[in-house]
């Protein structure tokens, strides 16, 4: 069964460093998302991506964040200058032909900022 994959599973970085979180969505999916979950809290929407551009972003997704789909398979989230409060689990998700379809989540990347 197709699945969303994410790498790395755990990333430790120093405050102020840049990190890139990588995702490979399910191959025929069209809509891509990043969410984050601070430990013990709810899952929060960061950004959605469709047709090679951002379709919506939350207020969390400030100028320090960017997303890219550099080729036909990868979908990346970059944080330019990490802060302590960026420590969280980051989930990538994708869905098929229309909004409202089930979003399939990757296993997440745990980001720890020291």
């Amino acid at each position: 069964e197709p699945e969303v994959t994410q790498t790395p599973s755990h990333q430790v970085t120093q405050m102020g460093q840049e990190v890139i979180l990588r995702c490979v969505p399910i191959s025929n999916h069209l809509y891509f998302y990043w969410y984050r979950q601070i430990l013990g809290q709810k899952v929060e929407f960061l950004v959605s991506f469709y047709n090679n551009e951002i379709s919506e972003k939350s207020e969390i997704f400030d100028d320090q964040f960017s997303v890219e789909r550099p080729d036909g398979s990868n979908f990346t989230l970059k944080i330019r200058s990490t802060k302590l409060e960026d420590s969280a689990m980051y989930f990538c998700a994708s869905t098929g032909g229309r909004v409202g379809d089930t979003q399939y989540f990757g296993p997440g990347t745990r980001l720890t900022v020291l």
Binding site: Y35, E56, G100, T102, Q103, F105
Partner: protein, 115 residues
């Protein structure tokens, strides 16, 4: 704006018994979708059940079923014949059809299953 509220931070159930997790939501969308996701200790998000708001019939998936009350904006999850493997955090979520389909999650309910 969409909001999702889960008022039960923790629930427990005896193995083989039935438990119901509550969820209420608010949305300005006329067409929307509701979901329950399960998050075990591995923190993977796993879809449990999906409901299309325009459908009157409550969704079911094996031991999992929902009670969708559209007028009351309520979407509860019933787990029958609870198993030890059902122990997890459960998140209720909504997605509108008129925007990008982003999921708005509730705060989650931790379900403990007692042997």
């Amino acid at each position: 704006a969409q909001t999702v509220t889960q008022s039960q931070p923790e629930m427990s159930v005896q193995e083989a018994e039935t438990v119901t997790l509550s969820c209420t939501y608010d949305t300005s969308e006329s067409d929307y979708y509701l979901f329950w996701y399960k998050q075990p200790p591995s923190r993977q998000m796993i879809l449990v059940i999906r409901q299309e708001a325009y459908k009157q019939q409550n969704a079911t998936e094996n031991r999992f079923s929902v009670n969708f009350q559209k007028a009351a904006k309520s979407f509860s999850l019933k787990i029958s014949d609870s198993q030890l493997g059902d122990a997890a955090m459960y998140f209720c979520a909504s997605a509108g059809s008129g925007n990008t389909g982003k999921l708005i999650f509730g705060q989650g309910t931790t379900l403990q299953v007692k042997p």
